[in-house]
């Protein structure tokens, strides 16, 4: 990591330090575990969105895709609505469905040439619609022990879900570093037109990235279902903007071609530490959102100071 990338990790350490000083409750081992557990779902969503952001596109589809996958998995594993008991297969189907929805936004982008901002917004609505259809007015509650166990059982002090998230980050990092898909996603953000001049057809890679992102959101939807013990249409509410915030705070910028999974993960931790810390130090619930917004802006400002140039373009 170059000096340019050091801003967000430093900000993370500083914010962690400040909360640790301010609140004895914050600096306990169990709270650190809690922070890591709480970061799990956001980390998985952010894994997916990071590849999209690296391409210079944007993705607002996580609320819909997570909702659809949450309901799907809840209806496929052992539950109170039907006699299904597919177990892991149910998880796989939910993730595949999510990947399919992601693929649709990618296809609409490259085939219809509609900006991703819109295609993903549209797909989010479609996902919510599909989820609402399947929900059909009765809450599907999960009785599958495996899925419930993910949220409850622990290994080395961390919930299984947290280990799943760690695995996702690792996979994401490997994809980014060692796969053509990952490197091309990065290159598309750097200079898409050049790839075409080099004879690379970018469209399949774009579709693949959105598909992969969809799969990550799908897994995140499953994780939320595991945590809540029930399939909720709103399982993904708010994750679109929080994932983007986390990624950007960590240095995966919206212009594309910058940052990556590890950057974004730092951002996830930063955002989660903030949320947790503000409760721990007892900031009024009325002010929490505002203080969090302020600190995010300040953190990004601090991170960009070393990179500032006179004729720099900031969008």
């Amino acid at each position: 990591m170059s000096l340019r990338d050091a801003g967000p990790p430093i900000a993370l350490v500083v914010i962690f330090g400040v909360f640790a000083v301010l609140s004895p409750d914050f600096r306990t081992v169990s709270n650190v575990q809690n922070v890591l557990d709480a970061a799990a779902v956001l980390a998985v969503v952010t894994c997916g969105i990071s590849f999209v952001l690296m391409m210079g596109s944007i993705d607002l589809s996580s609320p819909g895709i997570m909702g659809a996958s949450a309901i799907t998995v809840a209806l496929l594993v052992a539950n109170n609505r039907n006699d299904n008991d597919l177990g892991v297969l149910g998880v796989v189907v939910a993730v595949l469905l999510a990947a399919g929805l992601g693929c649709l936004s990618g296809l609409a982008l490259v085939v219809l040439k509609v900006p991703s901002f819109m295609t993903t917004l549209g797909i989010s609505a479609v996902g919510l619609g599909v989820a609402t259809l399947m929900f059909a007015g009765v809450q599907p509650n999960v009785s599958d022990t495996m899925l419930q166990g993910w949220a409850v059982e622990r290994f080395l002090g961390l919930a299984y879900l947290t280990w799943i998230a760690l695995a996702c980050v690792l996979v994401g990092w490997l994809v980014q570093r060692y796969s053509r898909l990952g490197r091309y996603a990065f290159a598309i953000g750097g200079a898409e037109e050049v790839l075409a001049l080099s004879g690379v057809k970018v469209a399949p890679y774009k579709v693949a990235v959105f598909t992969m992102a969809g799969a990550f959101y799908g897994l995140a939807g499953v994780m939320v279902t595991s945590q809540l013990g029930a399939g909720l249409v709103q399982a993904g509410r708010g994750y679109d903007f929080s994932a983007i915030t986390a990624a950007v705070v960590g240095g995966t910028l919206l212009i594309g071609g910058r940052g990556g999974i590890l950057h974004s993960t730092v951002g996830v931790l930063l955002v989660t530490v903030l949320t947790n810390g503000l409760v721990q130090v007892g900031v009024s619930p009325y002010w929490q959102g505002g203080v969090q917004g302020l600190i995010v802006v300040a953190a990004v400002a601090a991170a960009v100071i070393p990179q500032r140039r006179r004729n720099q373009v900031t969008k």
Binding site: D25, T28, S30, N31, N34, D37, A38, G67, L128, A131, T132, F135, G137, V138, Q139, N141, A151, V152, A159, V224, Q227, L228, G229, A230, L232, V233, Q234, A235, R237, T275, N276, V279, Q280, G282, P285, Y286
Partner: protein
Amino acid sequence: TETAAGGDDAAAAGACEPADVTLVGQVRTESNPYEASWLDGGDAFAEQVGLTQERLTYDSDSTRQQEQISQLLAGDTECLVMNILPNGDSDTPPIVEGAEAAGAYLVTQWNKPADLDVTDYDSWLSHITYDGVESGKQIGDALAEAIGGSGGVVALQGVLDTAAAKDRFVGLEESLAANPDVELLDDQTANFSRAEALEVTKTLLTKHGEDIKGIWAANDDMALGALEALQQAGRDDVAVVGIDAVPDALTAIQDGTMTATVSSDGPWQGGIGLAIGYCVATGELAVEDIADEDRAWFAEQFLIEQDNVADFVSPETSEADFACDSLFSRSQGSMS
């Protein structure tokens, strides 16, 4: 320049043929079990009178609710009956004024500014709600009792700018005053949401640890989220209470994992609003004949605990509930 929308035939009560009546039920979303059951109740009533209900949802979006209603009122309003769940208190006045100008029959539930008086209007037939202060206090007391009268509790508030959230919290404060040994360790909002409640509860559990003996949640969805958090933290010594009597909460009470909830009867709410409107529209009931205390009233509610939960597991609405002469039988009295 004068208003174009709406007809001048306002409140020509009782002129409608039963077959000409249009029934509209509007709630936030069909993806919430309580609100979905509300619309189902509306359907049941409609079927009972040989009509269908138009189901509208606005996705917890106040502007969208207003937009839908003004579009609705721009159509044929002569025999229009609306049973509406306003998103928040502030959403009620424009709905009421719109209905009044268009002459559509309106019943609202849950949210209304305290100083807005139903009797000032002709088309706004009735406003129904549950006494939030009362329910907040009831579950507060149940919680205090469950933890043996003393110990620390935390509160999960609803969407901060709704009357339901505020009233219920006032009820909790009353309960705390009556139980001086129960201490409120912390209060946070989880926006009536199960997912948010899960996160907030986890954080509160690490913050206050063993001090937490009970969790007071302003609705059942949050209570269920809190239960998940407790399970994940391996805590089975914490009492949890909520409001709404959604099926999952009732199951939890049966299992003994949850302590208490207060009934809100979704199917009945969905039917009764349409029934009042229908009776007036078809002339079986005149607005002037509705007693003032029935224009804005608290509906009957019950504290549900393990001993009486069986009575509430499958809420039934009967045709009798919606008969024009017994519309107000569940009233617990006028809103003060």
